[in-house]
């Protein structure tokens, strides 16, 4: 093995490291995650395994046969026909064509569709159109077919939505007002999420993805958790994925609770517990990639969080491994050398049930 190991930074830049430097990066990454999340560091054996994966000279690596997991997605089919802004390759395909190509040509374990805005608020006003498209496509698909979008509570604030913007209120020192408007927006979002799911249930929807929940903070995450519980009460047959947006729940409100547990500051191993309690069938977790650190540092860190989460969870854990999360470099075209190393490591060392 060469002393100069080719690897990358968190922004995708190609760099080389010596074996000792690479080991130092891996150790620093797991130490950082363990300190921040109050979770165990990776063991010496796991650190050695991660080093072997990162230092492997081949361009791509893969899991050992028999260790494969389920791959779900967050609008992957939209990437066939959308543009650069959505990571799309701009091929003029219909939604149906993209869905079937993803299932049959790409061998995806599950497939999905979503609105180009990929948020539930804009879906609400056109849900009848989405119902029609979903129903038609569901007659053709064989693999599980999800409808996905983000709760994205930011769209509920002025000027995009009806509720006063908490950022404006905080700027005026109105902390209680900022909290109240987040609570109002969360209740609005909770109802909209339930509305869209109930509509899609009428056309035989096979599964729903509340993707990137909590992007507007803890009240956003609360709304998603409550919507999961609401839906499961009325529609226990509806499979639900609750995906997260970051390694800890942002405390934009700071005080909201679910089942008596404060959501702000929850790390993945805590998020999986509330997601399971809410009734989610699959929980998605996200660990942010730091572009100023190496992929080795980021992946060791992500694996530490993921391992703790999969140990704490009673339901399948699918790790978010898109651009800029899970150790995947934060760039438009994440290099496959890094992507495959992230994929293998989070499955084999993180014990993920899916990606």
């Amino acid at each position: 093995m060469s002393d100069a190991i080719r690897t990358r930074m968190g922004d995708g830049e190609r760099i080389t490291m010596s074996a000792s430097e690479l080991k130092e990066e891996i150790l620093a990454g797991t130490v950082d995650a363990a300190e921040k999340g109050s979770v165990p560091q990776l063991s010496d054996d796991e650190l050695d395994e991660l080093f072997e994966i990162m230092a492997h000279p081949d361009r791509m690596v893969s899991v050992e046969p028999g260790k494969e997991v389920i791959v779900t997605d967050d609008g992957a089919t939209m990437s066939f026909y959308s543009g650069q802004e959505g990571g799309g390759v701009g091929v003029p395909l219909s939604r149906m064509q993209a869905i079937l190509i993803y299932e049959r040509a790409c061998g995806a374990d599950t497939t999905s569709m979503g609105h180009s805005d990929y948020s539930y608020k804009p879906v609400k006003s056109i849900v009848n159109f989405e119902m029609n498209e979903y129903y038609t496509a569901s007659q053709m698909t064989t693999a599980p077919f999800f409808y996905g979008a983000q709760p994205n509570m930011g769209l509920y604030y002025q000027p995009d939505g009806p509720w006063p913007n908490p950022a404006d209120l905080l700027g005026k020192g109105d902390i209680e007002g900022a909290k109240k408007t987040q609570e109002d927006a969360a209740e609005h979002l909770r109802k909209d999420l339930g509305f869209v799911v109930r509509k899609l249930d009428r056309v035989g929807c096979e599964g729903i993805n509340f993707d990137t929940s909590g992007s507007a903070g803890d009240a956003d995450y609360l709304a998603a958790l409550q919507a999961v519980r609401d839906v499961k009460k009325d529609l226990p047959h509806m499979p639900l994925i609750l995906g997260a947006s970051g390694e800890f729940v942002l405390g934009m409100h700071g005080s909201v609770e679910f089942d008596g547990k404060r959501l702000a500051g929850m790390y993945p191993h805590e998020q999986v517990e509330v997601a399971e309690a809410a009734g989610a069938d699959i929980v998605g977790i996200a660990v942010n990639t730091n572009t100023n650190e190496s992929v080795a540092w980021n992946l060791a860190r992500a694996t530490t969080f993921v391992k703790a989460a999969t140990a704490a969870s009673g339901i399948p854990v699918h790790v978010n491994v898109g651009m800029g999360v899970g150790g995947v470099p934060m760039m438009e075209q994440p290099p496959i050398d890094s992507v495959s190393r992230v994929s293998k490591t989070l499955v084999e060392l993180g014990k993920a049930d899916g990606l």
Binding site: S62, E68, V69, V71, R104, A108, T110, D353
Partner: protein
């Protein structure tokens, strides 16, 4: 798309090329972790765990059981008809299948 495909090739089960879709149904409908879901599906198919991602085994088995194939065989079940077979095999509720059955008066 390269990122998605990299994950599928590195870690995915292979979807309807193999038994990936079947294992996914068990995670979705029964909240099974990956090992339990694989054991369940392998038991229903009567194959070894390693066969679940073996195209050479699953290709013919899927055709024999009418579970849908990645290649398009004329007249072979695919889409909602394949999902009816999958629902019966795995003994799970698939919502699109339930709707289809209610519309067609299917007694099963």
């Amino acid at each position: 798309m390269g990122m998605h495909l990299s994950h599928i090739m590195t870690s995915g089960m292979g979807g309807i090329r193999t038994a990936g879709d079947l294992v996914a149904w068990m995670q979705m409908t029964r909240r099974m972790r990956i090992d339990e879901a694989k054991e369940y599906v392998a038991g229903k198919l009567g194959v070894d765990l390693m066969d679940l991602t073996d195209e050479e085994v699953m290709r013919q088995l899927r055709e024999d059981l009418g579970l849908g194939l990645v290649t398009s065989v004329s007249g072979s079940p695919k889409g909602i008809r394949a999902k009816m077979k999958i629902s019966e095999l795995l003994e799970v509720r698939i919502n699109s299948v339930e709707l289809f059955k209610s519309q067609t008066g299917y007694p099963g």
